[in-house]
């Protein structure tokens, strides 16, 4: 107690803002909360749960979330007693120019500290997953599962030409690639010299015809695209056959998010963690193994799968030797004899990973391609969902949640939300609740009127040019926001308008000053836009010379905060 008192006095005499906001104790509590939730996260995950548990959002689905909420609430109440009780601003104490920034900084720190507790929970789980699954071993296992996957036949369509990965020199690295099925081919006109009744492939909206692709040159619509290589896929083996050359699925992708079945990108070399595995080479290996009836090769791959399953205690009913024999007996084009079953993909996505067991081919009598063979012992099954769950959890913990993911993806959102919360806390301290409530009502009325105005304007602006319409609506928004902001400024800065009246416009001033920089940035973007006509059609696309970045919005928000502080000070100094 003496120590507590001493620390408090020391802070009070030197850093009143920190004393007033209970900085040391609340920060300590926040850190303890982070540590505690790290430990909880670490303990929540174990060897069994990692196979069936969905770590994504796990924090919010446990009782620990409610405990966390109660702790946050109690902390807020504890802080409020002092924070809202001691108000130098309301008592006209001289305050440094940075006083509000200090308070705002501390509140922002608190908000960030407390709303990021779930990250420590996830970091705890990540630490545990790193302990449970060694990276090197796991990547090898992923590779083993993926290698075997081509032989765990599930759907004959996985082996069809539509899934074909095209050989080099296709510029496939960052392209969108799609092919049209035969059903849709006939519906499309022949364009750009492509006969769509025959097989073709479209890469970056450039159609390439199989077989005689050398004759097709990029036309005027694609002048921006520099095609250096002329692609000839006419020599691709077995172009229209069911073949292991077409198998494009991977069960577990890594390091990207991967669980369950995924279609590999055509140029995807990464077959599951090992960059050394070249898909083209792998396809070729599968194809060769299958064509050469290489019993040992296939059996070895399946045996590796069994090893992986045993390592992670994944339920399976696999017999590599018998499976290999069955695989080599089947005719891929006509029949598919060896199948392993999967549970519903939807369940898998939603974290339901039960053991999988399916009796293959026995209930597909209506489908020609699945021909039942009498007296077969082909009840092979493997609960690969469990492995997929592990991989998914591991991948999520590594890349999709935690600090790294936050920094890469949601940091700005977190920052903006935290800033808004900190600002709300701050305003509640420095502006009377009555003023805030009345201000919110007035701001609501103004907002509703603006909404109606915006709706009517949107309805009545007859302009086919989307860009012009956006600009006009932007001008309307800007005019309204500037008008509200100006009126608030006048009411606060005018000596003739009483404090009581000026206070009513304060909340509107806050809102409008927050929107102002945002609107300005959007305005610059709109005004810097230009339209470009597609030479092959009437379509006009809108392009922007300037596109606002999150940091620019952040700077704008900070300017708004400064503006709000200035208004607050001015308002407080005003006479009634």
């Amino acid at each position: 107690m003496k120590f507590y008192h001493k620390i408090n006095q020391y802070i009070l005499e030197r850093y009143p803002v920190l004393w007033n906001t209970q900085f040391v104790w609340i920060s300590l509590l926040g850190l303890l909360l982070h540590l505690g939730y790290f430990a909880i996260g670490y303990n929540v995950l174990n060897a069994e749960r990692i196979k069936g548990y969905n770590v994504n959002g796990a924090f919010f689905e446990t009782v620990f979330f409610w405990i966390y909420l109660v702790i946050c609430l109690l902390t807020f109440i504890f802080m409020s007693f002092r924070f809202y009780g001691h108000n130098p601003f309301r008592h006209y104490y001289p305050l440094s120019r940075f006083y509000f920034w200090k308070i705002f900084g501390v509140l922002l720190f608190y908000v960030l500290l407390f709303i990021t507790v779930f990250i420590s929970f996830e970091n705890g789980m990540r630490a545990k997953s790193n302990r449970l699954l060694s990276e090197k071993q796991f990547l090898q296992d992923v590779e083993a599962v993926n290698k075997s996957y081509a032989f765990l036949f599930n759907d004959i369509n996985d082996y069809y030409i539509l899934n074909r990965a095209y050989p080099a020199p296709f510029p496939l690295d960052d392209i969108s690639n799609f092919e049209l099925g035969y059903d849709t081919i006939t519906e499309l006109p022949i364009k750009h010299g492509i006969d769509r009744t025959k097989p073709f492939v479209t890469i970056n909206d450039i159609p390439f015809q199989f077989g005689h692709i050398k004759t097709i040159l990029p036309d005027s619509c694609t002048t921006k695209q520099i095609i250096q290589d002329i692609v000839d896929v006419s020599s691709v083996y077995g172009l229209e056959e069911y073949s292991l050359l077409n198998f494009n699925r991977t069960y577990v992708q890594y390091p990207e998010i991967g669980y369950g079945e995924f279609t590999m990108r055509n140029n995807l070399n990464n077959m599951g963690g090992s960059d050394s595995v070249n898909r083209q080479a792998l396809l070729s290996t599968w194809h060769t193994l299958y064509c050469n009836k290489d019993k040992n090769g296939i059996q070895k791959i399946l045996e590796n799968l069994v090893v992986v399953c045993n390592r992670y205690r994944i339920p399976h009913q696999l017999n590599p030797e018998k499976m290999t024999r069955d695989i080599l007996l089947q005719d891929l084009v006509k029949t598919q004899l060896v199948r392993t079953g999967f549970y519903d993909y939807h369940d898998l996505v939603h974290g339901v990973a039960n053991s999988t067991s399916s009796t293959v081919n026995k209930n597909y009598e209506t489908q020609d391609k699945y021909v039942e063979r009498e007296n077969r012992d082909d009840n092979y099954s493997v609960d690969l969902e469990q492995f997929a769950n592990m991989a998914r959890n591991r991948t999520q913990l590594q890349f999709r949640i935690g600090w790294r993911h936050l920094q890469a993806n949601e940091m700005w959102a977190f920052l903006f939300v935290s800033m808004a919360m900190a600002m709300a806390l701050l305003l509640f301290k420095y502006v009377q609740t009555r003023v805030i409530l009345l201000g919110v009502i007035i701001a609501g009325i103004i907002g509703s009127l603006f909404g109606v105005l915006f709706y009517l304007a949107d309805k009545h602006i007859h302009d086919n040019q989307q860009g012009h319409k956006d600009t006009m609506l932007w001008f309307l928004s800007m005019a309204v926001v500037v008008a509200i902001f100006s009126m608030s400024l006048i009411s606060i800065y005018s000596g003739k308008i009483k404090k009581r009246i000026a206070e009513l416009g304060f909340v509107s001033a806050v809102f409008s000053s927050i929107f102002l920089p945002m609107l300005l940035l959007i305005g610059i973007m709109l005004l810097s836009s230009y339209q470009q006509k597609d030479p092959c059609s009437d379509y006009m696309s809108t392009l922007h010379r300037f596109e606002p970045q999150p940091w620019q919005f952040a700077v704008g928000a900070l300017l708004s905060v400064q503006l709000i502080f200035m208004l607050l000070r001015r308002l407080q100094g005003k006479m009634e």
Partner: protein, 381 residues
């Protein structure tokens, strides 16, 4: 009064066994120096006094030690008593035909205490709030002479207005004072000493570890004053500060205000409104009486006043007729019974003659006050 004279006064009071007054005056001298070493000595003395409440000799020797230290030090610079606020033709109107205050002209000088008296609803609070830059003016001007290029907020940080109902504070008394001291630029190393000094000075020592809501109304007012003096403002405006205080506390606070307002270092202009006429008049340098929103400065009136007029308030056990009989030999200008006492204005009558007349007619006097020099007279006009 020079610093030397002040120290002599302290010695005199201590010698006369006016320990409380002497000690408070000593503390004022210590505060005037702003020397933390002296602060520490004073705090140590207070602690000692707490442990040895009856050791007068010890007390005297220790106070003498502090006095000697004070004498050795260079006196604090005396600040000239300049006008700090000049209010010209201030007026405030509420509604079209409702109440109007003013026009009021005021010259407020540092170190001066102005009493603001008047019946309820005559604009005392309005005037105080206008001076505090809290209420807008309908017309007129206020010149804050100390104002440089500050904004309104900074200006208000130098004007302290304490309303009748003091604001609520949370937590410990000492913590709140420390927070105030910190905001007003007192260095961290001296913070504790300054705060304890103020607590001693305003009689809050025994409440140093108490929370604010444990204080009585009187001590809450003392807390406000301690907080105020830590802020070292230019102007202190007090609205009915004596309203909730007992008679002893009223006198103590008024004395403190007078003494502290006239400190050599940072003298303070004080304007206070009160219904306690006589107490306020005793300490005020000027009294402004407000009636129907119009001011009368009693000081200027006093100068013009007919010296031969005697005004008294008295209450007697006898009948009204007996009193009238006793006063029949004087020129009675006004004779009013106000319910609890008589208000009498006599021409060509001295105090001696009046007392003799009352004695001769065997008038049993229960209460008597000479209000010739008091604003009390305005209440009856």
């Amino acid at each position: 009064m020079t610093q030397e004279a002040r120290l002599q006064e302290v010695e005199y009071h201590l010698k006369q066994e006016n320990n409380n007054l002497g000690f408070r005056m000593l503390l004022d001298q210590v505060l005037d120096r702003g020397d933390c070493k002296l602060f520490q000595q004073s705090i140590a003395l207070t602690e000692w006094m707490e442990e040895h409440p009856n050791d007068r000799n010890g007390f005297l020797s220790k106070t003498q030690g502090i006095l000697n230290e004070l004498k050795q030090q260079t006196p604090a610079n005396e600040t000239a008593s300049d006008t700090i606020i000049e209010a010209v033709a201030l007026s405030k109107t509420y509604g079209s035909n409702r109440f109007q205050l003013g026009p009021v002209d005021l010259h407020i000088r540092s170190g001066h205490l102005i009493g603001l008296v008047g019946e309820n609803g005559n604009g005392k609070t309005t005037l105080l709030r206008m001076l505090a830059h809290d209420l807008s003016l309908s017309s007129g001007q206020i010149h804050y002479r100390f104002r440089k290029h500050e904004d309104d907020y900074d200006l208000r940080s130098k004007l302290i207005y304490i309303p009748q109902r003091t604001p609520k504070w949370f937590g410990k008394v000492k913590d709140n004072l420390k927070l105030t001291a910190k905001h007003y630029g007192i260095p961290a190393a001296d913070n504790e000493a300054w705060v304890l000094m103020m607590m001693i000075r305003f009689g809050l020592w025994k409440f140093r570890n108490h929370s604010w809501n444990e204080l009585s109304s009187g001590y809450k007012m003392r807390f406000e004053l301690a907080r105020t003096f830590l802020r070292q403002p230019k102007l202190l405006l007090l609205d009915e500060p004596l309203a909730n205080l007992d008679i002893v506390s009223q006198q103590l606070i008024l004395e403190d205000l007078k003494m502290l307002g006239k400190r050599l270092r940072n003298p303070l202009a004080i304007v206070l409104s009160s219904q306690q006429l006589y107490e306020v008049e005793k300490v005020s340098d000027e009294v402004v009486f407000l009636k129907h929103g119009k001011p009368s400065s009693f000081n200027s009136l006093k100068q013009q006043e007919d010296k031969s007029l005697l005004v008294v308030e008295l209450d007697i056990d006898n009948k009204r007729e007996d009193l009238q009989q006793a006063l029949s030999s004087f020129g009675v200008k006004q004779f009013n019974y106000l319910g609890s006492s008589y208000y009498i204005e006599l021409e060509d009558c001295s105090m001696k003659q009046l007392l003799q007349a009352l004695a001769t007619h065997d008038i049993q006097v229960r209460y008597f006050r000479d209000v010739t020099q008091s604003t009390r007279r305005f209440f009856n006009s």
